[in-house]
Symmetry: C2
Subunit: 208 residues, 2 copies
Amino acid sequence: MITDESLEKFLDDLAGRAPTPGGGSAAAVIGAIGAALVSMVCNVTLGKQGYEGVEADLQAVRDESEIVRARLTALVAEDVAAFDSLMAAYKLPKATEEDKGRRAAAIQAALRRATEAPLDCARAAAEVIELARRASEQGYTGVISDGGVGVLAGYTALRSAALNVYINAPSLKDRSFADEAVAEIGRLLEFGAAESDAVYRLVRGKLG
Amino acid sequence: MITDESLEKFLDDLAGRAPTPGGGSAAAVIGAIGAALVSMVCNVTLGKQGYEGVEADLQAVRDESEIVRARLTALVAEDVAAFDSLMAAYKLPKATEEDKGRRAAAIQAALRRATEAPLDCARAAAEVIELARRASEQGYTGVISDGGVGVLAGYTALRSAALNVYINAPSLKDRSFADEAVAEIGRLLEFGAAESDAVYRLVRGKLG
């Protein structure tokens, strides 16, 4: 599993000539970092004097952010698998008409998978942004900057995943799926831009 | 070394109740991801037909981005060490006047270190943004989205590092150092905002 490798090895693999892991996996890692920071803000705040009133909500935020983090961590490997299946489909034989038909179908299936992975990543990243807002509004002021980094990481994961949807969507023959994917990305980006900007300003304000 | 740990373990530690690793280390990792993606765009492009004219510059970009990546990777651990030394300084005895003087000096030294680490991270992240621009302008179109993710990662690392400078700078007694640090962060953020926006639009345009 790619996430069992050392951070150093992951960075080396990212930098290398091989196409995977690439920007899609990087987006998922950055989103998972954002989710982890949201959990940290909650974990540090829970049990602190003066924060009794927000315990219930921060517990809920932490539980949700841990679920989102697991989804994003799984997407690091899924993005590699989706890209590899696309590369494998392109290499299928195309000598006969039957070959060609089979190859085209395999490419379309792989393209769909390679669009769904970043779409899922974008959805999860939008949740990170929303959770980072709740954590930053209510969390212990001593770790408020971590909430700020969390929201920035979530927004970058979202914008990065969007780029990967934009690459693959145009080649999809299923236009209704492709158009809906691009439209959903547009809505998520609009939400993410406004929300992450508001949270960053809130955090910056609290830092004095 | 923290970067020898698995990605999964790093994320678990980030999410945990312990204050380190925190947002400062997360910023350095995100910056290193950006640098790695810049290197990848160069590595994939070098040797490709039709890109002979940009080889020399992309080789230079790749060499620089690998140096910046090593700096950012080292800052993941340095941020933890700086924060730990600050915590240790706060725990020093303060019974006598001599104790108090020694403790205050240790806190100031640790605060300076905890300001220099994110300042260095911000400088390196600004270089990632600049290198991502050169890689995205000249690199192979098939990996252009990776250049886009690289610039977003660089900008998020810069903004995240800035938050960590803003936390520590107000407590520094050396006002000229603190003011210059905050002023430099302001200049880096201004550069990063304009440059990353331009690169993102360039990449988005090339994706069609």
